[in-house]
Symmetry: C2
Subunit: 323 residues, 2 copies
């Protein structure tokens, strides 16, 4: 009902609609109308109420309100349950507590900002309010921990495809899954899991994307290595549209992977990757391995050809591309 009232107000934005009109149209009491409107206001919609005139929706801000997200989702699983926070410590940490509580697959934790957004290896992900997308998804695929990192590859590929197809931005993927534009990172993915040796209990797939950050909004020297879609495209993007397009595309890719295997993801990863064929150094547990990035294997491992001609498969590390 609240959704229907919201749709009516959106359709006739900037025009007053009387409470009586809404009441009759939906067959609910005036008090019920008033309660729904108040709830929408609480959720962040800027609705003006004037006695005798009624209600008017003034502006739809680019906030990630669950109603805005849900009305654009075409998914059956991902995002069907949304936990939304104007501010949170970390979407991944909160999502893990949902996993521990047995919440169903597909639950999404979405925040406007994170106090302690995390990246790989316990690094910080700067998460200023309403500048980026910071969300985590709870998944329970029937796969082994060996296969779990495939979900990061799938997510990186999804983000790259969405930017390419819907926003005309050609991002590159640096192994394993840094998303790069013009040599700078604009998005990262953090996968955490609870598992037995042979089966995953749950995965938490965290995504951070710098969307509308301006260069001066990156602290310290970060702007030398980090960028945002706004910086690269010169346009402010709708975060709601970007998020929902990613979630819709991700669900298709997810079920396609579960039903048809990892082949298509690998193919797309290779299309967008900027690592293979290059001389690289991989830093892993404080050890450096230099060589030619030859290929990735079906588990996402990077196959390096070392200077002595032997091959080494890496499952973890930071890649530096040699110029």
């Amino acid at each position: 009902m609240r959704q229907a009232i919201l749709e009516l107000l959106k359709k006739h934005q900037e025009i007053f609609i009387s409470g009586e009109e809404i009441s009759k149209r939906f067959g609910i009491s005036r008090t019920a109308v008033w309660k729904h409107i108040n709830r929408l206001k609480e959720e962040g919609y800027d609705i003006e109420s004037v006695t005798k005139l009624g209600y008017k929706l003034k502006e739809i801000p680019d906030t990630l309100l669950p109603e805005e997200i849900k009305s654009r989702l075409k998914t059956k699983v991902i995002g069907q349950e949304i936990h939304y926070f104007p501010e949170i410590v970390s979407t991944n940490s909160y999502c893990k507590t949902l996993g521990d509580k047995g919440v169903s697959e597909g639950a999404a934790v979405i925040a406007e900002s994170q106090q302690n957004g995390r990246g790989r290896f316990g690094r910080t992900w700067i998460s200023p309010p309403q500048k980026g997308l910071y969300f985590s998804l709870l998944l329970r695929p029937k796969i082994s921990p060996q296969e779990a990192s495939r979900l990061i590859f799938l997510t990186a590929v999804t983000v790259a495809c969405v930017l390419d197809t819907h926003f005309n931005l050609k991002a590159g993927i640096k192994w394993p899954n840094d998303l790069i534009l013009n040599g700078k990172k604009f998005a990262g993915i953090l996968l955490e899991m609870k598992a037995e040796a042979e089966q995953v209990d749950y995965l938490v797939l965290g995504v951070g994307i710098n969307v509308n950050n301006k260069p001066e909004e990156f602290p310290g020297d970060l702007a030398k290595t980090a960028t945002s879609l706004f910086i690269e495209k010169g346009l402010t993007l709708s975060r709601v549209e970007l998020l929902t397009t990613i979630l819709n595309t991700l669900e298709k890719a997810y079920f396609n992977y579960l039903n048809n295997g990892f082949g298509r993801v690998l193919e797309l990863w290779k299309k967008y990757n900027i690592t293979l064929g290059k001389r690289v150094t991989v830093t892993n547990w404080q050890t450096n391995w230099s060589g030619l990035a030859k290929d990735i294997n079906p588990y996402g491992g990077l196959i390096l050809v070392l200077p002595d001609g032997t091959e080494k498969t890496m499952y973890s590390g930071d890649v530096t591309l040699k110029v």
Copy 2:
């Protein structure tokens, strides 16, 4: 000090040693002696106290008291912290809470019985009081989740080696890690983990071994498929000795793996395995795969040759050996 007093009583078992003697020997007060003795009694030692005669240690039961374990351990990490329970819901579940709390690597959770001992795929592990070994170890190796299942292989191999070398029992390992004597299972290993995609936060390595169970002590039809070391050897074994020998051997194998790689474990696994070279059916997520068990790969995956000649690598499942 308590350990020293216990050693003295053990050395002169079945003889009364006066409080005065103990007090002088260790330079502590009579009250301190009395307090230490009371604490030992609380821990389960059967110490008789008679006025004017002193203290006599009557019997050392085959309970897994931390003092008994520690006095036999030659480890630097594993078992240096012991959490002992006469009864617990599940050693693995408790050990995971230690992992979540940030407890250091090597902590051991040891129980005389489990109310809800768990096996692979959420199955039950029957854990009657003082019949078997039920313990879980907290490990924090710097490895990726892809490599985590190697620790199960390492543990299965360790148990097989200990039984072979110290107890003259030739166990077989059925892929992935069921321990078998005369076609029946007597031990299982349950690995659980919390991890990021590229690094393990912690592993909980749970081990259940049927040691002194008699055939009639297995409920229902379980005796058809399950056995114990007592049944196979016809002797009651010291659980304290078995546990400490396993922990001592496991620590060596663990550091050898971390420092020198997985090669030695694979070699020993192949020595004890009863799966390779056989026609098998692997049941995995309700799908059956039949074929020839050709080899295992460096991550413990079972390489099956299917009837059409193609190869499939399995990371999860139950194996049925075809006769």
